[in-house]
Symmetry: C2
Subunit: 158 residues, 2 copies
DNA sequence: ATAGTGAATGTTACAGTATAACAAATGAGA
DNA sequence: TCTCATTTGTTATACTGTAACATTCACTAT
Protein backbone atom coordinates (compact mmCIF):
# COMPACT_ATOMS: atom_id res chain seq x y z
CA UNK A 1 0.00 0.00 0.00
CA UNK A 2 1.32 3.41 -0.90
CA UNK A 3 0.76 6.77 0.71
CA UNK A 4 -1.95 7.54 -1.78
CA UNK A 5 -3.69 4.19 -1.68
CA UNK A 6 -4.48 4.74 1.96
CA UNK A 7 -8.15 5.05 2.89
CA UNK A 8 -7.50 8.61 3.97
CA UNK A 9 -6.63 9.59 0.42
CA UNK A 10 -9.47 10.26 -1.97
CA UNK A 11 -7.64 10.16 -5.24
CA UNK A 12 -10.72 10.82 -7.34
CA UNK A 13 -10.79 14.16 -5.62
CA UNK A 14 -7.15 14.80 -6.55
CA UNK A 15 -7.90 14.05 -10.18
CA UNK A 16 -11.11 16.02 -10.40
CA UNK A 17 -9.54 19.03 -8.74
CA UNK A 18 -6.49 18.91 -10.95
CA UNK A 19 -8.42 18.54 -14.18
CA UNK A 20 -10.95 21.20 -13.28
CA UNK A 21 -8.19 23.61 -12.33
CA UNK A 22 -6.37 22.86 -15.55
CA UNK A 23 -9.43 23.67 -17.60
CA UNK A 24 -10.08 26.84 -15.63
CA UNK A 25 -6.49 28.05 -15.93
CA UNK A 26 -6.27 27.37 -19.65
CA UNK A 27 -9.51 29.23 -20.17
CA UNK A 28 -8.26 32.23 -18.21
CA UNK A 29 -4.97 32.21 -20.06
CA UNK A 30 -6.52 31.84 -23.46
CA UNK A 31 -4.59 28.66 -24.24
CA UNK A 32 -6.09 25.45 -25.54
CA UNK A 33 -6.35 22.37 -23.41
CA UNK A 34 -7.02 20.18 -26.44
CA UNK A 35 -8.26 16.59 -26.17
CA UNK A 36 -4.75 15.17 -26.56
CA UNK A 37 -3.37 17.46 -23.90
CA UNK A 38 -6.26 16.71 -21.61
CA UNK A 39 -5.84 12.96 -22.07
CA UNK A 40 -2.14 13.14 -21.29
CA UNK A 41 -2.82 15.19 -18.19
CA UNK A 42 -5.48 12.71 -17.12
CA UNK A 43 -3.09 9.80 -17.62
CA UNK A 44 -0.40 11.51 -15.59
CA UNK A 45 -2.88 12.05 -12.80
CA UNK A 46 -3.88 8.38 -12.84
CA UNK A 47 -1.53 8.02 -9.89
CA UNK A 48 1.00 9.93 -7.87
CA UNK A 49 3.82 7.95 -9.44
CA UNK A 50 6.09 9.59 -11.95
CA UNK A 51 5.16 8.54 -15.49
CA UNK A 52 7.52 8.16 -18.44
CA UNK A 53 6.81 9.65 -21.83
CA UNK A 54 6.78 6.31 -23.64
CA UNK A 55 4.46 4.82 -21.04
CA UNK A 56 2.09 7.66 -21.82
CA UNK A 57 2.53 6.98 -25.50
CA UNK A 58 1.40 3.36 -25.06
CA UNK A 59 -1.56 4.43 -22.98
CA UNK A 60 -2.61 7.14 -25.38
CA UNK A 61 -2.46 4.97 -28.50
CA UNK A 62 -5.83 3.26 -27.92
CA UNK A 63 -7.38 6.73 -27.70
CA UNK A 64 -5.27 8.50 -30.31
CA UNK A 65 -4.51 6.05 -33.08
CA UNK A 66 -1.92 8.33 -34.65
CA UNK A 67 0.05 8.93 -31.48
CA UNK A 68 3.80 9.07 -32.04
CA UNK A 69 6.56 10.38 -29.78
CA UNK A 70 6.08 14.01 -30.85
CA UNK A 71 2.41 13.73 -29.93
CA UNK A 72 3.35 13.04 -26.34
CA UNK A 73 6.33 15.35 -26.08
CA UNK A 74 4.31 18.25 -27.43
CA UNK A 75 1.58 17.66 -24.92
CA UNK A 76 4.16 17.37 -22.14
CA UNK A 77 5.80 20.59 -23.26
CA UNK A 78 2.51 22.42 -23.19
CA UNK A 79 1.48 21.07 -19.81
CA UNK A 80 4.89 21.87 -18.42
CA UNK A 81 4.82 25.44 -19.72
CA UNK A 82 1.42 25.91 -18.13
CA UNK A 83 2.76 24.56 -14.83
CA UNK A 84 0.26 21.70 -14.86
CA UNK A 85 2.97 19.07 -14.59
CA UNK A 86 6.58 18.89 -13.51
CA UNK A 87 9.40 17.00 -15.08
CA UNK A 88 11.35 14.79 -12.68
CA UNK A 89 14.86 15.23 -14.03
CA UNK A 90 16.42 12.32 -12.19
CA UNK A 91 13.80 9.88 -13.50
CA UNK A 92 13.10 11.21 -17.00
CA UNK A 93 9.49 11.23 -15.95
CA UNK A 94 6.57 13.49 -15.14
CA UNK A 95 4.12 14.15 -12.35
CA UNK A 96 1.01 16.24 -12.00
CA UNK A 97 1.26 19.49 -10.11
CA UNK A 98 -1.32 20.40 -7.47
CA UNK A 99 -0.43 24.03 -7.18
CA UNK A 100 -0.55 25.15 -10.76
CA UNK A 101 -2.33 28.42 -10.13
CA UNK A 102 0.92 30.20 -9.32
CA UNK A 103 4.50 29.65 -10.37
CA UNK A 104 6.27 28.03 -7.47
CA UNK A 105 9.39 26.31 -6.30
CA UNK A 106 9.33 22.59 -6.26
CA UNK A 107 10.87 20.16 -3.87
CA UNK A 108 10.17 16.59 -4.87
CA UNK A 109 10.32 13.67 -2.47
CA UNK A 110 10.68 10.55 -4.59
CA UNK A 111 10.09 7.14 -3.03
CA UNK A 112 12.34 4.38 -4.30
CA UNK A 113 9.93 1.74 -3.11
CA UNK A 114 6.50 2.85 -4.30
CA UNK A 115 7.71 5.37 -6.91
CA UNK A 116 5.30 7.99 -5.65
CA UNK A 117 6.43 11.59 -5.76
CA UNK A 118 5.34 14.19 -3.26
CA UNK A 119 5.74 17.85 -4.03
CA UNK A 120 6.37 20.18 -1.13
CA UNK A 121 6.67 23.92 -0.89
CA UNK A 122 9.34 23.95 1.81
CA UNK A 123 9.56 27.72 2.39
CA UNK A 124 12.43 27.38 4.86
CA UNK A 125 14.49 25.47 2.34
CA UNK A 126 13.74 28.05 -0.32
CA UNK A 127 14.71 30.84 2.06
CA UNK A 128 18.01 29.15 2.84
CA UNK A 129 18.58 28.65 -0.88
CA UNK A 130 18.00 32.34 -1.58
CA UNK A 131 20.67 33.25 0.92
CA UNK A 132 23.02 30.79 -0.71
CA UNK A 133 22.45 32.38 -4.12
CA UNK A 134 23.04 35.83 -2.80
CA UNK A 135 26.34 34.70 -1.32
CA UNK A 136 27.33 33.23 -4.66
CA UNK A 137 26.05 36.16 -6.72
CA UNK A 138 23.97 33.70 -8.68
CA UNK A 139 20.76 34.72 -10.47
CA UNK A 140 18.21 31.91 -10.39
CA UNK A 141 16.02 30.97 -13.31
CA UNK A 142 14.77 27.58 -12.20
CA UNK A 143 15.29 24.98 -9.52
CA UNK A 144 15.17 21.20 -9.50
CA UNK A 145 15.33 19.79 -6.02
CA UNK A 146 14.86 16.05 -6.10
CA UNK A 147 15.25 13.88 -3.04
CA UNK A 148 15.30 10.11 -3.34
CA UNK A 149 14.51 7.82 -0.46
CA UNK A 150 11.60 6.18 1.32
CA UNK A 151 8.26 7.85 1.89
CA UNK A 152 6.71 7.65 5.34
CA UNK A 153 4.41 4.83 4.33
CA UNK A 154 7.14 2.65 2.85
CA UNK A 155 9.55 3.48 5.65
CA UNK A 156 7.34 1.81 8.27
CA UNK A 157 6.58 -1.17 6.04
CA UNK A 158 10.16 -2.15 5.33
CA UNK B 1 35.07 35.06 -20.01
CA UNK B 2 33.75 32.61 -17.47
CA UNK B 3 34.18 32.47 -13.73
CA UNK B 4 36.98 30.00 -14.14
CA UNK B 5 38.77 31.73 -16.99
CA UNK B 6 39.39 34.71 -14.79
CA UNK B 7 43.01 35.51 -13.94
CA UNK B 8 42.24 34.73 -10.31
CA UNK B 9 41.51 31.15 -11.16
CA UNK B 10 44.46 28.82 -11.64
CA UNK B 11 42.78 25.92 -13.32
CA UNK B 12 45.94 23.86 -13.65
CA UNK B 13 45.90 23.79 -9.89
CA UNK B 14 42.30 22.55 -9.87
CA UNK B 15 43.20 19.74 -12.23
CA UNK B 16 46.41 18.74 -10.49
CA UNK B 17 44.73 18.70 -7.11
CA UNK B 18 41.77 16.70 -8.34
CA UNK B 19 43.86 14.11 -10.15
CA UNK B 20 46.31 13.74 -7.28
CA UNK B 21 43.48 13.34 -4.80
CA UNK B 22 41.81 10.79 -7.04
CA UNK B 23 44.96 8.70 -7.20
CA UNK B 24 45.48 8.97 -3.47
CA UNK B 25 41.90 8.00 -2.65
CA UNK B 26 41.85 5.05 -5.00
CA UNK B 27 45.10 3.82 -3.50
CA UNK B 28 43.71 4.08 0.02
CA UNK B 29 40.50 2.35 -0.95
CA UNK B 30 42.20 -0.42 -2.86
CA UNK B 31 40.37 0.33 -6.07
CA UNK B 32 41.97 0.77 -9.47
CA UNK B 33 42.17 4.13 -11.17
CA UNK B 34 43.00 2.51 -14.51
CA UNK B 35 44.27 4.48 -17.53
CA UNK B 36 40.80 4.68 -19.06
CA UNK B 37 39.26 5.90 -15.83
CA UNK B 38 42.05 8.38 -15.33
CA UNK B 39 41.69 9.72 -18.86
CA UNK B 40 37.97 10.20 -18.45
CA UNK B 41 38.48 12.00 -15.16
CA UNK B 42 41.11 14.19 -16.76
CA UNK B 43 38.78 15.04 -19.64
CA UNK B 44 35.98 15.92 -17.25
CA UNK B 45 38.34 18.21 -15.38
CA UNK B 46 39.38 19.95 -18.60
CA UNK B 47 36.90 22.64 -17.60
CA UNK B 48 34.26 23.42 -15.03
CA UNK B 49 31.56 22.89 -17.60
CA UNK B 50 29.36 19.82 -17.41
CA UNK B 51 30.45 17.23 -19.98
CA UNK B 52 28.24 14.75 -21.79
CA UNK B 53 29.07 11.07 -22.06
CA UNK B 54 29.23 11.05 -25.84
CA UNK B 55 31.45 14.12 -25.87
CA UNK B 56 33.82 12.18 -23.65
CA UNK B 57 33.56 9.23 -26.00
CA UNK B 58 34.69 11.37 -28.93
CA UNK B 59 37.55 12.81 -26.93
CA UNK B 60 38.68 9.44 -25.63
CA UNK B 61 38.71 7.71 -29.02
CA UNK B 62 42.06 9.13 -30.14
CA UNK B 63 43.56 7.76 -26.94
CA UNK B 64 41.57 4.55 -26.68
CA UNK B 65 40.96 3.24 -30.17
CA UNK B 66 38.42 0.68 -28.98
CA UNK B 67 36.29 3.11 -27.02
CA UNK B 68 32.57 2.43 -27.28
CA UNK B 69 29.69 3.71 -25.17
CA UNK B 70 30.17 1.08 -22.44
CA UNK B 71 33.80 2.16 -22.13
CA UNK B 72 32.69 5.61 -21.08
CA UNK B 73 29.69 4.65 -19.02
CA UNK B 74 31.73 2.14 -17.03
CA UNK B 75 34.36 4.74 -16.28
CA UNK B 76 31.66 7.24 -15.32
CA UNK B 77 30.03 4.68 -13.05
CA UNK B 78 33.30 3.98 -11.30
CA UNK B 79 34.19 7.65 -10.87
CA UNK B 80 30.72 8.36 -9.61
CA UNK B 81 30.81 5.53 -7.07
CA UNK B 82 34.11 6.84 -5.81
CA UNK B 83 32.65 10.32 -5.50
CA UNK B 84 35.18 11.75 -7.94
CA UNK B 85 32.50 13.12 -10.22
CA UNK B 86 28.82 14.03 -9.99
CA UNK B 87 26.11 13.46 -12.48
CA UNK B 88 24.08 16.54 -13.34
CA UNK B 89 20.62 15.06 -13.72
CA UNK B 90 19.03 18.00 -15.44
CA UNK B 91 21.73 18.08 -18.13
CA UNK B 92 22.56 14.38 -18.58
CA UNK B 93 26.13 15.42 -17.97
CA UNK B 94 28.98 15.15 -15.51
CA UNK B 95 31.29 17.38 -13.53
CA UNK B 96 34.36 16.80 -11.43
CA UNK B 97 34.00 16.93 -7.67
CA UNK B 98 36.44 18.90 -5.56
CA UNK B 99 35.50 17.41 -2.23
CA UNK B 100 35.78 13.74 -2.93
CA UNK B 101 37.46 12.80 0.32
CA UNK B 102 34.16 12.58 2.15
CA UNK B 103 30.64 11.79 1.07
CA UNK B 104 28.75 15.05 0.95
CA UNK B 105 25.59 16.77 -0.11
CA UNK B 106 25.72 18.59 -3.34
CA UNK B 107 24.08 21.79 -4.43
CA UNK B 108 24.89 22.61 -8.02
CA UNK B 109 24.69 26.10 -9.48
CA UNK B 110 24.45 25.71 -13.22
CA UNK B 111 25.04 28.72 -15.47
CA UNK B 112 22.88 28.83 -18.57
CA UNK B 113 25.27 31.21 -20.26
CA UNK B 114 28.73 29.75 -19.75
CA UNK B 115 27.59 26.21 -18.81
CA UNK B 116 29.91 26.14 -15.81
CA UNK B 117 28.74 24.32 -12.73
CA UNK B 118 29.68 25.32 -9.22
CA UNK B 119 29.26 22.89 -6.38
CA UNK B 120 28.46 24.30 -2.97
CA UNK B 121 28.08 22.71 0.42
CA UNK B 122 25.29 24.98 1.63
CA UNK B 123 24.96 23.68 5.20
CA UNK B 124 22.00 25.93 5.98
CA UNK B 125 20.09 24.58 3.02
CA UNK B 126 20.88 21.02 4.03
CA UNK B 127 19.75 21.75 7.58
CA UNK B 128 16.46 23.18 6.34
CA UNK B 129 16.05 20.13 4.10
CA UNK B 130 16.56 17.76 7.03
CA UNK B 131 13.78 19.47 8.93
CA UNK B 132 11.55 19.18 5.89
CA UNK B 133 12.20 15.42 5.68
CA UNK B 134 11.47 14.94 9.32
CA UNK B 135 8.15 16.73 8.90
CA UNK B 136 7.31 14.49 5.97
CA UNK B 137 8.57 11.29 7.63
CA UNK B 138 10.78 10.77 4.61
CA UNK B 139 14.03 8.77 4.80
CA UNK B 140 16.65 10.21 2.48
CA UNK B 141 18.98 8.13 0.35
CA UNK B 142 20.28 10.73 -2.05
CA UNK B 143 19.75 14.32 -3.08
CA UNK B 144 19.98 16.18 -6.36
CA UNK B 145 19.73 19.92 -5.94
CA UNK B 146 20.27 21.65 -9.24
CA UNK B 147 19.79 25.34 -9.72
CA UNK B 148 19.80 26.87 -13.17
CA UNK B 149 20.51 30.52 -13.81
CA UNK B 150 23.36 32.95 -14.32
CA UNK B 151 26.64 32.76 -12.47
CA UNK B 152 28.06 35.94 -10.95
CA UNK B 153 30.43 36.47 -13.85
CA UNK B 154 27.81 36.11 -16.57
CA UNK B 155 25.26 38.11 -14.57
CA UNK B 156 27.38 41.27 -14.72
CA UNK B 157 28.30 40.75 -18.38
CA UNK B 158 24.75 40.49 -19.69
C1' DA C 1 53.98 -24.43 -14.00
C1' DT C 2 49.08 -24.38 -14.21
C1' DA C 3 44.55 -23.92 -13.48
C1' DG C 4 41.27 -21.07 -11.25
C1' DT C 5 39.56 -16.55 -9.84
C1' DG C 6 37.92 -11.84 -10.09
C1' DA C 7 38.32 -7.38 -12.12
C1' DA C 8 38.53 -4.80 -16.14
C1' DT C 9 37.86 -4.24 -20.88
C1' DG C 10 36.26 -5.47 -25.73
C1' DT C 11 32.34 -6.17 -28.68
C1' DT C 12 27.80 -6.46 -30.55
C1' DA C 13 23.43 -5.39 -30.30
C1' DC C 14 19.70 -3.06 -28.66
C1' DA C 15 16.56 -0.31 -25.48
C1' DG C 16 15.01 4.03 -24.11
C1' DT C 17 14.66 9.18 -24.52
C1' DA C 18 13.96 13.19 -27.36
C1' DT C 19 13.84 16.35 -31.36
C1' DA C 20 14.13 18.22 -36.33
C1' DA C 21 11.75 19.12 -40.32
C1' DC C 22 8.10 19.36 -43.18
C1' DA C 23 3.16 18.28 -44.41
C1' DA C 24 -1.67 18.46 -43.38
C1' DA C 25 -5.65 19.88 -40.87
C1' DT C 26 -8.25 23.11 -38.21
C1' DG C 27 -10.42 27.21 -36.92
C1' DA C 28 -10.94 32.22 -36.25
C1' DG C 29 -10.96 36.60 -38.24
C1' DA C 30 -10.33 39.99 -42.50
C1' DT D 1 -13.22 33.07 -49.54
C1' DC D 2 -8.61 33.90 -48.15
C1' DT D 3 -5.11 34.27 -44.75
C1' DC D 4 -2.83 33.45 -40.69
C1' DA D 5 -1.63 31.09 -36.55
C1' DT D 6 -2.06 27.00 -33.88
C1' DT D 7 -2.24 22.29 -33.59
C1' DT D 8 -1.53 17.77 -35.17
C1' DG D 9 0.34 14.12 -38.44
C1' DT D 10 4.37 11.88 -40.29
C1' DT D 11 8.96 10.40 -41.17
C1' DA D 12 13.26 10.17 -39.90
C1' DT D 13 16.97 10.64 -36.96
C1' DA D 14 19.79 12.10 -32.97
C1' DC D 15 20.98 11.42 -28.36
C1' DT D 16 21.41 8.66 -23.99
C1' DG D 17 22.17 4.39 -21.76
C1' DT D 18 22.42 -0.81 -20.93
C1' DA D 19 22.32 -6.11 -21.58
C1' DA D 20 24.89 -9.88 -22.57
C1' DC D 21 28.63 -12.39 -23.62
C1' DA D 22 33.67 -12.81 -25.06
C1' DT D 23 38.35 -11.72 -23.98
C1' DT D 24 42.29 -10.21 -21.44
C1' DC D 25 45.12 -9.78 -17.56
C1' DA D 26 47.04 -10.11 -13.02
C1' DC D 27 47.04 -12.62 -8.92
C1' DT D 28 46.79 -16.85 -6.26
C1' DA D 29 46.17 -21.64 -4.71
C1' DT D 30 47.29 -25.93 -5.94
ZN1 LIG E 1 -4.28 11.60 -5.15
ZN1 LIG F 1 6.78 4.84 -0.91
ZN1 LIG G 1 39.38 25.22 -12.10
ZN1 LIG H 1 28.27 31.76 -16.38
Amino acid sequence: MTLHDSPKHNHKHCVNTALAMAQQLCLERGVQLTPIRYQVLELIWASHKAVKAYELLEQVKPLQMAAKPPTIYRALEFLSEQGLIHRVESLNAFIGCRCSNAPHEQLLLICKNCQEVEERTAPKVMQALSEEFNDAGFIVHSKAIEIHGLCSQCAVQL
